[in-house]
Symmetry: C2
Subunit: 377 residues, 2 copies
């Protein structure tokens, strides 16, 4: 940045949850402010940094410099990158390292990484000594717009994604947008899928704005900061209305029942499918399912698909590299997904762009038929 | 019971925690009421019964008869008895069995056993799908007067007891006092140690009443039901004032810092020491530590020790069968116990019977010296 460019804006979003309220701060360079911010918010607290090998290699030194400068004692727990780290074994490893480091309830677990690290570290912070403080420093786009906000933490069961976890709100979220410069393009696009999701749920204007500004966002201009801030605002509003997903929070799962099933059938192999890609396909499936049933305009399903495709995201099951997952496996994974209530399938469906709704009685046979059509050669 | 004995009383204690409030019902024969009570409280819910091999062999059939009669679908997960079941492996086993059984968030995990089963099943119910309903049916005296009340759930870490867990309140607690008839006498005495604890914390009259009624309680008369009800009342009051142990709830740990350290140094071998025995020794140590430092009358320490001894409980470290644990190991376990804040030792100390208090700055050297004196031959 030179003297004539205006400073990038720093944006703050408040998640309103009574005594569990907290700020999300968004902007470039926040990694250099972590130390003073933690010292101010949690005086005397130590920090157990949880991160993965990629993020540690690229950015950990800068983070620890900031903590050192502010006199915040720390220790880093570095895990292999990837979804398989979000497991019982990963949890045990993090929990035992935190205990070993003699961190106490008033100390902070600092998640420094993507959604995998945030979910895992957050869950560990929820259960060590029945609850420690938790600070999120999301480094992937997906984590900055979605997983770091709202307090859902957890790990995967061999039987399905995110089946084990806790609601545990962070004390602070710091989204350093400059860290995204090192994010692989495929991961950037995957995170973008969750941004689009907010427009599709109930913000049609935002979706239109994305249609216009997509290239600027991918170029990393201030439009990116705006897109992240609006996404956090959207998510914070949903979470404030229904923290523990008794009802309306389920809307955030648009595309996720299909998406999780796809991730499961490819056994979470990132080379074939990452979470945001599963969500992109899942959202397209949800829109086409609704269009085919006359619930939503065909035109909207096409617009959604075109937008994801322009962003370089997959939109059909067939776009997944390798063998197409069998329908039986998909249906099995769908039934085991946690959005089930007394065995009727709950899906997030839509009446069109910005008009998602919760459907509690979707007939599994309808879904099976639809998937069969989708997979016709 | 014949026609001339009056019916045993059924007592109900309310734990006042706002929207998380619940009842503890105490009395003989409640196992036959489980089905209708769950059906009334959680209509349509299924029950995942978690139990251990001893309790299953003796009482599971009667429990399932009651559930069947009320039309509550169920499945039982039967685990080996003993503290080692409260482990990562035990947790994984219970969690995966619950998921496998396709239980949902509105279904109930039903803990049917002692404190080990209650803590483990409660923690599983807190984390499966980020929180299911939870019903406690405590079958040991210790579980009826202590562990089933208050929402502390968890497992042990290889580094120490109860270091991993959650606060998760039950929806209902049913303490069937008739089930205690099959409890081994040593386990009964161990549970009695926690009853005595409530008197020693802040109910000197209750302690006196126990001095008078101990034999009736051990004989299983109505005095037993009274003792359990007063204990639950005492614990419920503490929990209502400080649910997540920010402060005063720590009083419930009277004797537990020493007790946990003893349990750890004998590697949780029940043949050498069960939890309540560790608590009995720990409470005696706390009273003698305070008496030696002039904080409490010597006479009170002697009265406490005499009462535990009369109940058949150990009162000194040397009473533990086998080799006496080395002081260094004990001190290490004490420092790792979770009642630490920024490295000063927090202990529950006492000014005498019914006058326990939280001491936040106990000097580890003092504790070490005291233990050395205790262990003089
Ligand atoms: N808790 C929630 O509410 C919530 C919401 C959405 C998704 N999730 C979870 O989030 C996970 C997906 O998150 P994700 O996509 O961030 O995955 P991730 O954590 O695996 O990160 C993706 C990849 O990007 C790398 N990476 C991260 N930041 C980087 C950076 N700045 N530079 C270079 N590389 C970087 C990581 O090492 C990893 O290889 C899933 O497990 C999903 O279930 C949770
Ligand atoms: N959550 C809390 O607030 C809290 C409080 C105190 C203790 N605890 C925990 O509780 C545990 C100790 O509980 P416990 O003493 O009940 O141990 P336990 O569950 O191991 O039960 C003791 C023994 O009695 C047997 N048993 C239980 N009920 C029986 C019955 N009716 N008939 C015959 N046998 C029976 C069990 O099989 C076991 O062998 C410890 O892990 C301790 O940490 C938790
Ligand atoms: Zn997602
Ligand atoms: Zn105890």
């Amino acid at each position: 940045m030179n003297a004539t460019t205006p400073a990038h804006p720093q944006r703050t979003i408040r998640v309103a949850l009574g005594e569990r309220s907290y700020d999300i701060v968004i902007g470039p360079g926040l990694v250099d402010e972590v130390g003073p911010r933690i010292a101010a918010l949690l005086p005397g607290a130590r920090a157990a940094i949880v991160t993965d090998e990629n993020v540690a290699r690229l950015h950990l030194e800068r983070l620890t410099l900031s903590l050192d400068a502010a006199g915040v004692e720390h220790r880093a727990i570095v895990l292999p990158a990837g979804e398989t780290t979000k497991s019982y074994a990963g949890l045990t490893r993090v929990v035992e390292a935190i205990i070993e480091g003699r961190f106490e309830r008033g100390d902070a677990v600092l998640a420094f990484g993507g959604g995998v690290i945030g979910d895992l570290a957050g869950f560990a912070s929820a259960v060590v000594r029945r609850g420690m403080r938790f600070v999120q420093m999301p480094t992937s786009l997906l984590a900055q717009v979605d997983s770091s906000v709202g307090g859902k933490t957890g790990i995967n069961s061999p039987q399905g994604k995110n089946l084990v976890g806790a609601f545990h709100q962070p004390t602070l979220v710091l989204a350093d947008t400059a860290l995204l410069d090192t994010l692989p393009p495929r991961e950037f696009a995957a995170g973008y899928a969750e941004i689009v999701k907010y427009g599709l749920i109930d913000r049609p204007d935002f979706f239109e704005w994305l249609e216009t500004n997509r290239e600027d966002i991918f170029a990393g201009t201030d439009a990116l900061i705006d897109a992240i801030a609006i996404s956090c605002e959207a998510k914070a509003a949903v979470v404030a209305a229904d923290e523990t997903e008794q009802d309306s929070r389920a809307l955030l799962n648009l595309g996720h029942t299909f998406g999780h099933a796809l991730e499961k059938t490819v056994r979470y192999e990132a080379s074939r499918l990452v979470h945001g890609e599963g969500v992109a396909i899942g959202i397209c499936l949800a829109h086409r399912f609704c269009a085919a049933r006359g619930l939503a305009p065909e035109e909207d399903a096409r617009r959604v698909e075109a937008h994801f495709a322009a962003a370089g995201l997959p939109t059909r099951i067939q776009h997944i590299a390798g063998e197409t997952p069998p329908i039986a496996d998909l249906m099995d994974a769908i039934a085991q997904d946690k959005k089930v209530t007394r065995s009727a399938l709950t899906f997030i469906l839509t009446h069109g762009i910005g008009k998602a709704f919760i459907a509690r009685n979707v007939d599994p046979a309808d879904v099976g038929d639809f998937l069969a059509e989708e997979l016709l050669p």
